[in-house]
């Protein structure tokens, strides 16, 4: 009477699902807290925001057309941003890819001091005091980093501190192929 084994089989299947999910969590291919961006493969949101370094001037993201560039969302209030700062400085220097900083819901004075003390990795750094542009980019925490192609398409997103290793794994392969497009 095979049907009496149906409950056991159903629970085994459920167990297999859990084991599969746990295995993927353990080897790092599944992160239940990560929210994948629907922007990847889509045109990057366009924004015009005042510069942190000089609020009387503004920056238009359309001026980056034709270049591969990085958008990095950060804030002086965010400890993980402090943590990634040194690698940002280094990556901006080594890779030659321009970094655009979006200072998210922050105090402009503090941001200027922060960049003055620690160094400024950004080609341009803008202030998103009200967090509207961050919503357009689907930002849900800081730091978050996006890679945009010369055609203005979002190629990749990384949530969390951007390290050299993350760059090499997630972004670097796309810079060469995406850059020539």
């Amino acid at each position: 009477m095979w049907r009496y084994f149906a409950p056991a089989a159903a629970f085994l299947a459920l167990g297999a699902l859990f084991a599969f999910a746990l295995m993927r969590i353990q080897n790092g291919t599944l992160d239940v807290r990560e929210i994948k961006s629907p922007l990847i493969g889509k045109p990057a949101p366009v924004f015009t925001l005042p510069l942190v370094t000089d609020p009387s001037q503004s920056f238009d993201s359309r001026s980056m057309a034709g270049k591969t560039y990085v958008v990095n969302v950060w804030g002086t209030w965010c400890p993980a941003c402090r943590e990634e700062h040194d690698s940002l400085l280094q990556l901006a220097r080594v890779t030659g890819v321009p970094f655009i900083g979006i200072d998210w819901k922050d105090d402009g004075q503090l941001a200027q001091q922060y960049l003055g003390q620690l160094g400024n990795p950004y080609q341009q750094v803008v202030a998103d005091a009200e967090g509207r542009v961050a919503i357009d980019w689907g930002v849900y925490g800081a730091p978050e980093t996006f890679l945009v192609s010369p055609a203005g398409i979002v190629l990749a997103k990384h949530a969390g501190a951007l390290t050299a290793a993350v760059w090499a794994e997630k972004f670097a392969p796309l810079v060469t192929s995406g850059g020539s497009r």
Binding site: F5, F11, G15, F18, A21, L22, I25, I35, K36
Partner: protein
């Protein structure tokens, strides 16, 4: 030295659990009386050593021994004594220790109160409980020990999460775990019955009070959690369909089905297989909840610090117990099929439909809880399944269930002589509809949501129907068995609960306002006047307290205080709401942020009938209590019920 004693006590408890399991199961199999006799002292020993370990952890919290990592991360020298004690189960490791202690307590109770049961059966039940003890004690020792040292010791503790610093922490988790872990008793009875190969009405009679007792604790535990979330976390919400809540609700639904199915097995000797399956399901869902909450596969508001290696361990335990017992079921079930008929309309039919709908409801919650994980695991995208989904789909099985409850409890066994009560039921249904219309249209002035009238009518119908028998019997000066009275009370409680849900879901009013001292705002005819603010010093927090005078028309009702607390160590702000309770509504005030210019944001809420949600749950649990005190559960095994022991070889 002290925490090492705790570890040692747990190791001894582990060894004793292994002995309990071995001598219980193997002793019964080989029919060695001396082996089976040794199980009882082992059970007592496990309880003593687990209690000792628990006492040591409590002592370490009280004495602020920050050389223990768990104590250092979950308490602080300024933490009030009550929370120091409750902090023992405030996080993953300690709550597992509580889990084991409660398992040991259930086993001890079974050992003490089952002296009338045949020895082999008793040995098997305790043996199965011992196996569960081995599993969870080793899980604690090897992956989640609360006694690990922190070297060098911390100078000060990181404090207990402020959200947990509430008196409810002292009672909610222990009560919930009594229910959660209590499902293991019915499971052990089921496995013991399958091992002996025999199930008879006596088996159901033994199993029922334990199942009802655990179910009662689970009912109260869930209700306490809901009440806690209402005043502390949720700003007036009482159920969020969070995975943690779902994890406790699924075993409740399965246990509820089990109680009803056991009734049929006891009275008619039918549905034996189904009853066994439900006993396994209830425990499985309880283990599944433990897995979901502690493994980190799901994201929840209050999940424990999780880690996949712990997840794998629990998954192993889960599969061992569930697949093992279900395989045993598959082997035994074909021989347990029974004949015996009943008419289309009979209590058996109603109870079977009740079981079908309860299982559908549990399956629905399982599907909704796991679907995001399924999609995530197979890279099909991330989705959220939350309150809008559950609130809607949960009606599908539960509304018919409400109607069935009202009628079904009057159906007789084998064939329902409903005709005699049919007229009265029809009258009650008509009256319920009328009262529902008066409440909605008359009292609240609107028909509410699409299902408001249906909800009130169903609730009133069930309440009225539950009262028929107690009132008739009381009038005729007839006695009533406690089991029957308990059933009537529990069903009445379900009605009260539904009244609460219908009222608050349909007629609640929320308003966010900005007020300065002297300003007032009005909702639902109640006027809230902001009197002013004071600084308040708590034991381990500083608070700003707002005083709000509440009046209805010209009539002053009460003065409420609401606080914004800032804890010294974990500097998170916590809001403490002010709630004014009356028989027909709660008024809820919560202080928000300072807006400048002397203004504050404040949330005012009017929650009609919300108390009946928890009052209903308490009445349901009370019904369970009355039923467990029924005389027939205390009758010793009599001669006409041969002990299953004799059937062992036959099976």
């Amino acid at each position: 030295m002290i925490p090492e004693l705790g570890t040692l006590a747990l190791v001894i408890a582990l060894l004793l659990s292994a002995a309990q399991s071995f001598f219980g199961l193997v002793g019964a199999h080989k029919n060695k009386a001396s082996w089976m006799q040794s199980v009882m002292p082992a059970v007592a020993g496990v309880w003593v050593f687990v209690s000792f370990a628990f006492a040591i952890l409590t002592y370490s919290f009280i004495t602020h021994d920050f050389s223990i990592a768990y104590v250092a991360t979950n308490s602080n020298t300024e933490l009030p004594l009550m929370y120091c004690i409750a902090a023992v189960w405030g996080a993953h490791e300690g709550s597992l220790l509580l889990w084991i202690l409660i398992l040991a307590t259930w086993a001890l109770l079974v050992a003490m109160f089952s002296k009338s049961l045949p020895l082999p059966f008793r040995a098997r039940v305790l043996g199965v409980l011992g196996m569960i003890g081995v599993g969870f004690t080793s899980f604690t020792l090897f992956t989640s020990s609360p006694f690990l040292r922190l070297l060098p010791a911390a100078a000060e503790g990181a404090d207990l999460n402020p959200i947990l610093q509430d008196p409810a922490l002292a009672i909610h988790p222990p009560m919930l775990y009594m229910g959660y872990v209590g499902t293991s008793v019915a499971f052990a009875f089921a496995v013991a019955a399958m091992l002996s190969g025999r199930i008879d009405p006596a088996w159901s009679r033994w199993t029922r009070p334990w199942t009802v007792a655990a179910w009662m604790c689970l009912t109260l535990g869930i209700a306490l959690g809901s009440w806690w979330a209402y005043y502390e976390l949720g700003w007036g919400g009482w159920w969020f369909w969070d995975p943690v809540e779902n994890a406790s609700f699924m075993p409740w639904l399965a246990s509820t089905a089990l109680i009803h199915s056991l009734a049929v097995t006891e009275k008619r000797g039918l549905f034996k297989n189904w009853t066994l399956l439900l006993a396994i399901f209830a425990f499985s869902l309880s283990l599944l909840g433990t897995f979901l909450v502690r493994s980190g596969v799901l994201v929840s508001v209050h999940s424990f610090a999780s880690d996949p290696s712990r997840g794998l361990f629990i998954l192993g335990l889960l599969l061992f117990f569930i697949v093992g017992s279900l395989t045993l079921y598959a082997i035994r079930a074909p021989s347990l099929r029974t004949d015996g008929g009943f008419e289309l309309v009979s209590r058996e039919s109603f109870l079977l439909l009740n079981n079908a709908l309860l299982v559908a409801a549990a399956g629905l919650i399982l599907t909704g809880t796991l679907w995001p994980l399924v999609m995530d695991a197979f890279n099909l995208g991330k989705i959220s399944v939350g309150p809008p989904y559950f609130n809607m789909v949960f009606m599908v099985p539960t509304l018919p269930l409400l109607a069935l409850v009202g009628i079904g409890m009057h159906a007789g066994w084998r064939r329902a002589a409903l005709a005699s009560k049919g007229r009265r039921l029809a009258l009650i249904a008509g009256g319920a509809l009328l009262v529902a219309l008066v409440i909605t249209m008359g009292f609240y002035g609107s028909i509410g949501l699409p299902l408001t009238v249906v909800g009130f009518t169903g609730a009133l119908f069930v309440m009225g129907s539950a009262l028929i028998d107690p009132i008739t019997r009381w009038r005729n000066k007839q006695g009533m068995s406690r089991a029957a009275l308990g059933m009537a009370v529990a069903h009445f409680g379900i009605g009260v609960f539904v009244i609460g849900i219908s009222g608050v879901a349909s007629y609640k009013i929320e308003k966010d306002v900005s007020m300065g001292p002297g300003d007032s705002a009005e909702i639902a005819g109640y006027r809230f006047k902001f009197l002013g603010t004071d600084n308040v010093h708590g034991p381990n927090y500083e608070a700003l307290e707002a005083r709000v005078a509440v009046s209805k028309g010209e009539l002053p009702l009460t003065e409420l205080t609401t606080q914004k607390r800032k804890f010294k160590v974990q500097t998170m702000p916590m809001t403490h709401a002010g709630i004014a309770v009356a028989w027909n509504r709660d008024l809820f005030v919560a202080l928000g942020d300072e807006l400048g210019a002397g203004k504050w944001s404040m949330r005012l809420q009017y929650k009609p009938l919300v108390r009946y949600i928890w009052i209903g749950a308490v009445i349901v649990a009370l019904g369970g209590l009355i039923a467990t005190l029924d005389r027939r559960y205390r009758v010793r095994v009599t001669a006409d019920e041969p002990a299953p022991a004799s059937a062992d070889e036959a099976a």
